[in-house]
Symmetry: C2
Subunit: 512 residues, 2 copies
C-alpha cells in the first residue's frame, strides 16, 4: 500500500490497527461526526475537591489499558504527567496509553515506565528528549502515534482517540473545576491544548497548585467539563514553562534568510490591510516577523490577525496596531501571558479551533502567511520535522501540517546546510508535511518555489530575488557536504505519523 | 399515571410521545450522554457568506417536518424568527417545529403560520402574547413543549431535542461565522441561549446586520459551529431588545415584601463572604437586591457571584465590590451590556453552564440565594409561572425551576392577592416548579416556610418576622377574595410542561 507521496505502508500495523494511507491534504473532508460523550452529572450537594491525587485515583475506576491524557502548556516545566504516571505505577496499573499533546525532556521518568510495561502506548504531537530516544530505540510496546495539533483535536472529537481520564494541569482552579492559566505561580497563559481533552474525556481531573474560591475569573475551561479538583504543591517549574523573553536571531546568515522571506511575502501581494500571519518561536522565524513588521509599518498596513503560539514580538505588533487581534493557542513567553491576561484583543483559541480539519472551519483556514521550519525537505517539497537525519525522533508536526495546509503562502525558512548535513534531499527520512502544502523554501543560497505555484513564480520573477529550482538547491548543498548516506533502520515500526485528517502519511522505524 | 406531586398524566401524548412522569428534582441524574453531532467540515477555499436568506434556504436541504431553532436575546425586538418563518412558508414548507428559547408578543405573525399548518410544533421555555393565546386555544397541531432554560440545553445536548437548522440572530458576525452580541445596532450583550443550538444543530446559520471582517472580537460563538453567514438590514429593534434602565418598584406593599425577604435572607445565615445571589428583573425582585445591597455594605460582606439575567442594579453591586464576579446568561439592560463589554469580571455563561442538570455541575448548583416570582403557589409550595388563573399560557419556567432546584435558599416574593385573586391555592393551575425546591414564600401578610426546612424555621423563629403556615396565608387571602372557582378546561392537551430533567411535571389543557 502506498500513500499518494509514494511511501510504502503496511495495511495493518500491530498496536495501531488498519492503515488509511495519506491521499492528499483535503481528500478526507465533508460529513464528519463529533462523537457522543458519557458523563456523570453533578448535583448541588456534590463536592469536587478531593484531598489528594490518591483520592482521585480511588474515584476514577482505573483499569489496565486505559488512555490518560495531558496537555503540554507547562512544557519543560511540567510536573503533572510524571506525578500521575508514578502514582498509577505504584497502584500496579499496566498497559497505559499516554495521550500527551507534547512530550519534553522533563518527562524522562516515563522511560522507566515504558521499559517496565506500565506505559505501552504513546500518542503525541511532539516528542523530544529521552522519551523520543526510547521510542526510536523500540522500547515502547506499541508504535507511538504522532499527530498534529489540529489532528489530535480531530481524533479526540471524532472518537478516534478515546480518553478515559484527562488530567489537566491547572495554574488556577476553583472549587467547582473552573480553570484558567493566567493566574498562579505556574501561569502559562492560554490553555488551547487542554480543551478537547476536558470536553471529550470520560472523566476529567483538574490538578492545581492554586485552588481559589468559586468562581475563578477568567474561566478558560468550564466547570461543566471537570469531575474532580485536586490541589498539589506544585504543578510545574516556571523556569521550564516560559522561556523568558523570546529573542530573534543575531546570526548573520539567518538574518539574510529572514530578509529574503520577507521580500517573498511582499512580492506575493499578501501584505495588505486584513492580512494574517503566523510564525514559530524560533530565532529565524521571529526575524521574519521583525522584517514584516518594518514593511507593514512603512506601508501603513493593518493586518487582521496573527496566530499560533504567541510570543512577545507578536504582542508588540498587536500593541503597535499592526494586527487587530491575536489568536493564541499557547503563550510562549511572559509578554504573551501578560498580554492575554489584560488585552481583550489577544484572544484564546482551542487547538480544535486552531487546526482541526473536521470542524466548520479552523483558524488556519484563514491564514495568509505561515513561516515554517524544517529538518529536511525533499525535492517534492515534503518536509520532515519528525526525525533527525539519523532517524531518531526529535519533535513532530505540532501545528506544522495544520498551518501549512491552511495558509495561502507557506514559507519554509532554513539554512541550506545544518551540522554539515544538507537540508534538501531526494527523500526525507520521515514525511511530516506534504509538499502540496509548502509553497516556498527560502535559504541563504537561493529561493525555491513549488512548481504548483505558477502564480507565485511569475510574481517573484518580477523581483531580484535569487530564484532557483529545489533540485539546484540540493546540488548546491551536496557540493559542499557530499551526498549523505541513507540511515539504515530496522524493520520494526516505532511510530506512526498521522496526517491531520487521521490518514497515515509515514512511519518511523527503529534505529540500529 | 401520576407524578410524585399527584398530577394525573396520560402515559402517551399524541404529538409528544411517551410520558415520563416527574418523580423528584434529582431523581434522574448521574450517567448521561452528550449526543453525537454530524457536521460538514469547511475547507480553506470555502466561503461562508451568502448573498441573502434565500441562498441560505437553497443550501440547507430544507424539508417538511424539520425543527428550526432561535434564541431569544433580541426579546420583543426580534426580527429574525418572523423573517425566517415567513421565508420558509413562502417556499411551501409545512409541519415545522419552532424551537425558540422564548416567544414574545412580537412573534404574533407565527399565529397565522400555526393556523395554516406551516408550523405544527413549538418548543420554548417561555411563551407570551398572541402565540401563547393561540396555543392555549388549541390552534397548534401538536402540544407545545415547554421547557426550562437549563432543560432546553439538556434536551439539545442529550439529543432529546434535535435541531435541523439553528438560525442565530447575530448582533455582530464576521465573514467566517464568529459572533458576538456586544457590538452592532442590535447589541444584546451575552448570547447564553444561543450556544447549545450552535453546537448541536445539524446546520447553523448566523444572521446579522453587522457583518465585520474576520475576526470578530470578542468571539462569543465560534466559527467552528457556524456553516453560513447572511447579512440582512435589521435583525432587531433596539427598543424591544433592552428595556432601558431597569427600575425597582416604588409600590409600598412591594417594598415591604422586599424588606422582609431581605430579613429572611439575613436570618438564614447566608449573608457572609463568598455568598451568591440571583434575582429576576421584576420590580420587587430588584427591591430585594437593593435591600440586600444595604445589608452587605453595612456588614462589609463580599459575595462570590451574582448570576442570571443581569440588570443595572447587579452591575452596580459588582462595581461597588459587593460581588467578585457576575455570571451572565442574558443582559437585560444597557448597563449590563456595557458592563459585559468592558469588565472582565462580568463573565458570560451558556444556558447549559447556567442550568443544565446533566452536566458536571451548573452554576445554579452553586447558588446560595434565589429570589423568584409566582403566579400561583399551592399549599405544597408548588409554583405556577406557566399559566394565568384563567388557564391561558402567560410565560413558563425560564430559569425558575433551574435556580429553585440549585439554590440553597429559594424565596418566592409575591403580593398575597393580585388582580383580586388569591395567589395561594390548594392546587395551582399548572405546576412549573416543584414545592421541594421552594423554601420560603414572602408576602405582605406573612411569611410561610416550607415545613421541609426545619433548620430555617428554627432560625426564623429567633426573629420578629411574621411566620405563618402556608395554609394560614391561603385562608387570609380567601377571606378577602373568596375561594376562586376552578377554571374549566377542555380535554385536549395544548402544552406539555417538562421539568428540567425531561420528565413531565404537568400538562396545560385547552381553554374553553
Amino acid at each position: 500500500m502506498k500513500t499518494i507521496l509514494g511511501r510504502e505502508l503496511p495495511d495493518y500495523i500491530e498496536g495501531y490497527g488498519e492503515v488509511t494511507p495519506f491521499q492528499g491534504a483535503f481528500k478526507d473532508a465533508r460529513i464528519k461526526t463529533r462523537v457522543a460523550v458519557k458523563l456523570t452529572s453533578v448535583n448541588p450537594s456534590d463536592q469536587k475537591v478531593l484531598a489528594n491525587l490518591e483520592e482521585a485515583f480511588d474515584k476514577l475506576n482505573l483499569k489496565d489499558g486505559m488512555t490518560i491524557s495531558f496537555h503540554h502548556h507547562l512544557r519543560n516545566g511540567d510536573h503533572v504527567l510524571n506525578m500521575v504516571v508514578e502514582g498509577l505505577a505504584k497502584r500496579g496499573l499496566k498497559d497505559l496509553t499516554i495521550a500527551a499533546s507534547s512530550i519534553f525532556p522533563i518527562h524522562e521518568p516515563l522511560v522507566a515506565h515504558i521499559e517496565n510495561g506500565v506505559v505501552t502506548g504513546l500518542v503525541s504531537n511532539y516528542i523530544s528528549g529521552p522519551v523520543a530516544e526510547a521510542v526510536s530505540k523500540g522500547k515502547l510496546k506499541k508504535p507511538a502515534l504522532m499527530q498534529t495539533h489540529g489532528g489530535r483535536s480531530r481524533a479526540i472529537e471524532s472518537g478516534d482517540l478515546h480518553i478515559d481520564v484527562a488530567f489537566l494541569a491547572a495554574p488556577t482552579a476553583d472549587t467547582y473545576g473552573n480553570i484558567n492559566g493566567v493566574h498562579g505561580k505556574a501561569a502559562c497563559g492560554t490553555l488551547g491544548y487542554a480543551l478537547s481533552d476536558a470536553e471529550f474525556a470520560d472523566q476529567t481531573v483538574a490538578i492545581t497548585d492554586n485552588l481559589v474560591p468559586f468562581p475563578a475569573c477568567p474561566i478558560q475551561v468550564s466547570q461543566v467539563f471537570v469531575d474532580y479538583v485536586v490541589q498539589i504543591d506544585s504543578i510545574g517549574d516556571p523556569a521550564g514553562i516560559v522561556s523568558g523573553t523570546t529573542k530573534m536571531t543575531k546570526d548573520a546568515v539567518a538574518l539574510i534568510i529572514a530578509k529574503r522571506a520577507a521580500e517573498v511575502i511582499k512580492a506575493s501581494g499578501l501584505v495588505k490591510d486584513g492580512m494574517s500571519f503566523q510564525t514559530g518561536a524560533g530565532g529565524t522565524s521571529l526575524a521574519v516577523a521583525a522584517e514584516l513588521q518594518e514593511i507593514m509599518q512603512r506601508e501603513g498596513v493593518v493586518g487582521s490577525f496573527a496566530s499560533g503560539g504567541i510570543t512577545g514580538p507578536l504582542v508588540e505588533m498587536l500593541e503597535a496596531g499592526l494586527f487587530k487581534t491575536l489568536f493564541d493557542v499557547q503563550c510562549f513567553d511572559l509578554e504573551a501571558i501578560d498580554s492575554y491576561r489584560s488585552n481583550a484583543t489577544h484572544q484564546a483559541m482551542s487547538a480544535s479551533m486552531y487546526g482541526n480539519p473536521h470542524t466548520k472551519g479552523a483558524v488556519v483556514n484563514c491564514l495568509d502567511i505561515m513561516i515554517l521550519g524544517a529538518t529536511e525537505i525533499d525535492t517534492n517539497f515534503n518536509v520532515n520535522v519528525t526525525t533527525g537525519s539519523n532517524g531518531v525522533i526529535i519533535g513532530g508536526s505540532g501545528g506544522h501540517s495544520d498551518t501549512a495546509a491552511g495558509a495561502k503562502l507557506s514559507i519554509v525558512v532554513t539554512n541550506l546546510i545544518k551540522a554539515r548535513l544538507p537540508i534538501i534531499k531526494d527523500q526525507v527520512t520521515t514525511i511530516t508535511t506534504p509538499g502540496e502544502s509548502i509553497d516556498v523554501v527560502v535559504t541563504e543560497r537561493g529561493i525555491a518555489v513549488n512548481p504548483r505555484r505558477v502564480d507565485l513564480i511569475e510574481k517573484l520573477r518580477m523581483t531580484n530575488l535569487p530564484l532557483v529550482t529545489i533540485e539546484a538547491l540540493k546540488i548546491m548543498a551536496e557540493k559542499i557536504t557530499g551526498i549523505p548516506k541513507d540511515v539504515p533502520t530496522l524493520e520494526k515500526i516505532v511510530a506512526v505519523v498521522e496526517y491531520r485528517d487521521g490518514s497515515v502519511i509515514d512511519v518511523v522505524r527503529q534505529i540500529k
